[in-house]
Subunit: 288 residues, 4 copies
């Protein structure tokens, strides 16, 4: 009958979820957003940006492994990776597990996210900020992608939901700039919403991507901290992640000696792209 | 700033989810449990048993298709199906989509569940209660399975969570009785908990099943009404659902002319069995 | 660990309260609003209008007795009472406990409120709808008060909060029309918000009333179903409810043989007008 | 649609309330309990002990003024005051507003409550910890009251609810020890539960007190941070707080030059003792 301290997060206007917190570890107002860290019995420490759950100690691997490995594994020899957002370091850490990767460029607008993640989320970044292959640029991702002359083998958009300020990073124009910054064999990955909680968002973003990339492959997995099944997409002009067998992926994981995978394996590589019929309908390419 | 009418359901002691209701359509106390129906913006009508969400108009297909088709499709010619529980008719309806099925026996302890489902959940049962191949037996599943001399090609346990009275239907003894009631090529399917919300339950039930069946294949999918990813299992001495290709499953769906599948297809058949590493660890058979 | 069915109501943007419901008894969309009835362990049946708690079986007496008796008891011989709103019958029932009252006119815009209250809230109306002294007029209170040529000894505004459509019944213009419809010795009563949850509303409405009536006496009591302390006001040109002693009020209660009072007595008559300093500050008449 | 950080507190099994928090300022596990401070839009900083709301910057005066002044004002010349619990300093500060008070002894079991209140709750203690008339004893109140040979003019029990460890400070035995530690004209004050949320507690504690003291006067006020109307009691063998007039109390407030009262005045002194009939029934002395 005691009081409780609940983190409540809506999925849309009529459904949502809650996570009991033991305590709040800290809160910081940066020039860009409000950061907060809570300790929870279920997920360990949770990192919140502007009152949205972003990552947590105990389930971060689900999102970060899935944002990076399905795309990076199908590239024969990725060398140059760009992460836009991702200041917690989790995506960078996954990318640098691929030995051919020579450099990961992390473009994060908010230096405080990195500072706080460094201090509090060892379980997420796993020391990646000390890796000399990681280049950190504190800048607006929109500006960076428009101005860069580099070509990347993978661009991963590791961003807030396309609501508020982050919406500008989900426009057709922005996606086109990403496309231009990719090498010929390059791939783009990003999250595109929950098929059950915001199906229109999934459909709209997929259509936008279909207008730019030859191959757009939505995939889904349940992300506990986001309270639902979530859709991501791999976009490319060359590589189709569904064109691989389980054994081929297993072989690449082995050859590249990728360690500490808590989610990704040869079976899940294909499993996440196995879309239920109702999700197929959401992401059907009407032009094809 | 108005008041709201929320259905709140815990997943475990520290996490849970809520669904806004428009209104409650009815509530009935039966000799066995409390039934309630709510109308919700997100899922249409929801059917609750003893304050647990059981099924809903708009997402029932996720659970019912996955409880039935992965097992029934890999059987060459299933004829005799047993559903224990499942008074909403959803599982029976899916089973009867397979043309070789001659009879589905539905053993439901609570006649009122069927009565109310008939009236309010057309979207779930889709008229199956009028199908002459469906035999309804109002009885205790434990008693039925102990006494039956029939052999079934599929037994699907379509039950409440293994808490309270339903716990008796998740014991080793009960599973052994199910095993005895299966034909040589028969399969058992059931749900075994959420890998993230109650990992111990998933592990314990898998171990129990591994002690009885030669082949136990856990599989997972996100079930919106249960608020998380959920694990089910196919158990058999003969059939391994993972031994099929996507194309073989697609061919069977086509040959059997299975209609109105909103989730299940040749890809998801394998996709749901593609376990992330952390789920593999939960369900590892320590004896093998 | 079971699910719950909660009625959640905000008090303002950042605080609120919840009441667990056993079940919803019914819901009706009328031309004016949404009505709903829930059964709850704490308050018995609750009547909700447009998702706001309005009244309940077990605590209705707190609001209804306080809306009626402090004003009506200080009038020497009230004969003609007007209730605007109040379709649940609770205020009318209290008014008719005063034997000098010859007629209560209930002006309710929504006939369905009365119909449903009659059927489900005997505990609130206590049969008052069969009392020949009660005249029911189904009409807009604004229109009625503008057009009536009657003079009333008490006008009680038994309305929704001054948000949305009900706001028009809290304007200076409407209060002036009420003033004109009062007999020389007549009194107006109404609720004016929660001093802690919406202090500005309390201040603003008091100022508005101070501009019209010579005597405005705010008073407060905790109303469980509204989740907080609430302020009401008695307004008059002649009668000051604070000018009576406890003994005088007790004597009037006895002489008038007022029965079944669960809240009101000679002490509470003065007690509710005993404003804490912080409430005095909210309702201070700046003109005096 | 953003996430929220809610402090949820049940009033009993089926009702409760929530307060939105901006952030948690700190949390400390002491040898006795868990302390936590939150910043909230509604109440400023809130102090929580073992997940119960205890006090807050913006509404603490309601509880602290009411615990102290109704008793202390009716004593002609109180000199020696004992506060058991009350480590936030709020009650001590109110007691020391009476100029005849020579010493306030604060017996708090948990030194950390005082330490943290000093640092974070200036708005509650208002510097009282620097007052030389305040003697702080870090000790178990049960032990102190059993062993003390002092006589107090007021003992105020400023404790957690009578649940868990605090229950031992609400027994007949403990109350008898308090009685023995009072001067002939001494008074005891304490809170005894919410008449609407736990009526049995109010009744039981009142009966227990009636067995010991000649005069037991329950009184009530709405305490926002406790989410409901709450009952307190003044107990004495000599002084009846209801035997004073509003004017007499006003005169004493003036003579004693008591400043910064945000709640208490001559009217509320009597107003809080004006019990509604349903509360009278709860606290009726069956022996009289």
């Amino acid at each position: 009958e005691r009081g409780e301290h609940l983190l409540v997060e809506p999925l849309n206007d009529t459904i949502g979820f809650y996570i009991k917190a033991n305590r709040q570890i800290g809160e910081w107002q940066t020039p860009f957003q409000k950061l907060a860290i809570y300790d929870t019995p279920q997920y360990g420490k949770i990192f919140r940006l502007d009152d949205y759950n972003m990552t947590s100690e105990r389930e971060e691997f689900i999102y970060h492994e899935n944002l990076i490995h399905p795309a990076l594994t199908v590239h024969d020899a990725p060398r140059n990776v760009l992460i836009i957002g991702g200041g917690d370091g989790g995506s960078s850490e996954e990318a640098l597990k691929h030995p051919s990767v020579e450099r990961v460029t992390l473009v994060e607008i908010d230096a405080d996210v990195i500072k706080i993640a460094k201090e509090h989320f060892q379980a997420v970044h796993n020391g990646v900020f000390d890796n000399p292959k990681l280049r950190i640029i504190i800048d607006d991702g929109i500006k960076f992608i428009r101005e860069t002359r580099e070509k990347f083998d993978l661009i991963a958009l590791d961003l807030n939901d396309p609501i508020g300020p982050a919406a500008a990073l989900y426009t057709t124009e922005f996606f086109q700039h990403c496309h231009q910054a990719l090498s010929v064999e390059g791939l783009l990955t990003l999250h595109i919403g929950s098929p059950t909680a915001h199906p229109e968002r999934v459909t709209e973003l997929t259509q936008r991507l279909n207008g730019i990339f030859s191959i757009v492959r939505p995939y889904t997995m349940y992300i506990p901290l986001y309270g639902a099944q979530w859709a991501l997409a791999v976009c490319s002009d060359r590589h189709d992640p569904k064109a691989f067998t389980t054994e081929e992926i297993e072989q690449r994981i082995k050859t590249r000696n990728i360690q500490q995978l808590q989610f990704y394996n040869g079976e899940t590589h294909l499993g996440v792209f196995a879309l239920p019929n109702f999700v197929r309908n959401l992401v059907a390419d009407k032009n094809k």
